[in-house]
């Protein structure tokens, strides 16, 4: 079974093409790292899978059906914003606001929903964080809370947009480890976008590297290579492996790091 299938998908905003002619299959239960420079289209790709961005050509299938908004089988952690509305309210309120999706009526959760929320909070070790006002949490603590939120409702497909932003290296490792472990507790396909390949090494099954309107999907060894990345970056790229880490270099600079410095 495929969890996500792109068939000759093109996405454009006005005259600006973001992706063109992308075909790919992501199998059920795969853990895929989504990489690429700023503006390559990582967020756009996830929003297309969520049915929020309509491809200008081709078709996207998600969990056996066409991509559509409000699919209860899909969990989503949006890329973090600096501003957080409702910062004075508790993490629980934040997480619970999405339980039950977008149904109308007065807010409230059923006993089953509360149990599900507690289960998700326990998985990301965020039960205590949920009692505190969101505005008091550090960036990393807030990410743990939002990751728990993405797990509410036991999604079969998890789209995590840059969950490592503003985490220190040890928290980065533990977040990746958490997602990896999660897949043993509930079968789930994960798309996990990141700035850098290194925190994901050893955990992901395959890499989806975006750049220059194209996409390359394969194992780390197949994709993180000088020829493939040179095509995606439209520049001469060297891939240097050192002590179990991978450095993607252009003209002697580590571009995966430099590219994203502004987000930190």
């Amino acid at each position: 079974m495929t969890a996500v299938r792109f068939e000759r998908v093109g996405i454009a905003f006005g005259s600006r093409s973001i992706l063109s002619g992308v075909s790919l299959d992501i199998a059920d239960g795969e853990f895929v790292g989504v990489l690429g420079p700023n503006g390559a289209g990582k967020t756009t790709l996830m929003r297309a899978i969520l049915g929020l961005v309509r491809p200008t050509e081709g078709a996207i299938a998600v969990l056996g059906g066409p991509a559509r908004r409000g699919n209860p089988g899909v969990g989503y952690l949006p890329q973090m914003h600096r501003s957080a509305p409702g910062a004075g309210f508790s993490g629980w309120d934040l997480v619970a606001s999405s339980a039950g999706g977008g149904r109308w009526g007065w807010p409230g959760t059923s006993a089953a929903e509360r149990r599900d929320i507690e289960r998700a909070l326990d998985l990301t070790d965020a039960r205590d964080l949920a009692r505190r006002p969101v505005g008091e949490l550090s960036g990393g603590q807030r990410q743990r809370l939002l990751l728990a939120q993405a797990l509410v409702g036991r999604p079969r497909l998890l789209l995590l947009d840059e969950p490592l932003i503003s985490l220190d290296p040890s928290r980065q490792r533990s977040t990746v480890e958490l997602v990896r472990r999660l897949r043993h507790e509930q079968p789930v396909t994960v798309l996990f976008s990141a700035h850098e390949i290194n925190p994901l090494l050893g955990a992901i099954d395959r890499v989806l590297y975006l750049g220059n309107g194209a996409a390359a999907l394969g194992t780390v060894d197949e994709v993180i290579t000088s020829p493939v990345l040179s095509r995606l970056y439209a520049a001469d790229i060297d891939v240097v492996r050192l002590g179990g880490r991978i450095f993607v270099m252009a003209g002697g600079h580590d571009i995966e790091r430099a590219e994203h410095r502004h987000d930190a």
Partner: protein
């Protein structure tokens, strides 16, 4: 003081409007749209004065134009709401337009103070029924839409992905805001709408970290401040709006006084 009919009406009017203003204000604060609420009241000024020029009841013009403006803001959606400059332009244009209408119809000028600063003691029975209608429709709509409204306010991208229609939620909310603003204008006036709508809600938001407590606390504060304002005005003979503004400001400032807040659990 409750021997007087106009006082009873005033308490009823303030209670009705305070209840809905508190709830609407709570969501305005949550969504960071308080300035939009402020601008809507100024649109109401143009609506009320314009209605007089065209021989219509001012209250109809007030409600009509704020509602149109609220729906307009909702339709323009993210492109307008939260954009302070665009809202500020609408605000000044409306005041200018209102001034022009006054210029054509100078005999209405005596009532302008009531429009700008409110006149809850002058509310008549018919107005009271209109205010009740606003509150019932507004609170009914909010009760129906509270869940997606909270979700969309806290996490718009996620809400959208889960199937919430952000434009619809925004449209419904701004429509309710518009009629609520019109109600507030009758109590505290165009210039002091904040005192009833945003002051109590902002204080409530600072007093609790639980959303559902906040939604209920805001209208309680608003009604309490409005009633206390009327009572104080009765005994001091100062204008009601002065007292409501003072209480609203005082309660908000009080929330900054540290009350030995319990330490957050680690």
């Amino acid at each position: 003081m409750l021997d007087y009919d106009f006082m009873v009406t005033a308490f009823l009017a303030a209670g009705i409007v305070g209840a809905i203003a508190g709830v609407v204000g709570f969501f305005l604060v949550l969504r960071g749209q308080t300035f939009a609420g402020h601008a809507l009241s100024h649109v109401g000024f143009a609506g009320a004065t314009g209605a007089v020029v065209f021989g219509l009841p001012p209250l109809a013009g007030l409600i009509g134009l704020t509602l149109i403006a609220g729906l307009g803001m909702g339709l323009l959606g993210e492109r307008l709401t939260g954009r302070d400059v665009a809202i500020g332009v609408v605000l000044s244009l409306s005041l200018g337009l209102g001034l022009l209408f006054l210029h054509f119809y100078t005999s209405y000028a005596t009532q302008v103070t009531a429009l700008l600063f409110g006149n809850v003691l002058g509310v008549d029975r018919a107005t009271l029924w209109t205010l009740l209608g606003i509150a019932v429709v507004g609170l009914g709509t909010l009760t129906f839409a509270a869940r997606p409204l909270i979700f969309a306010s806290l996490q718009p991208e996620l809400a959208e992905a889960k199937g919430v229609s952000l434009p619809l939620v925004s449209l419904l909310f701004l429509a309710v805001t518009a009629i609520t603003v019109a109600g507030c204008v009758k109590i505290v006036g165009v210039l002091l709408v904040f005192t009833l709508m945003v002051g109590p809600a902002a204080a409530a938001a600072r007093m609790t970290s639980r959303l559902r407590t906040g939604v209920l606390l805001a209208p309680l504060l608003a009604v309490a401040e409005a009633w206390a304002g009327i009572a104080l005005a009765y005994y001091t003979d100062w204008p009601v709006s002065v007292w409501i503004a003072a209480l609203s400001g005082a309660v908000f400032l009080l929330t900054f006084v540290p009350l030995g807040r319990r330490p957050a659990p680690a």
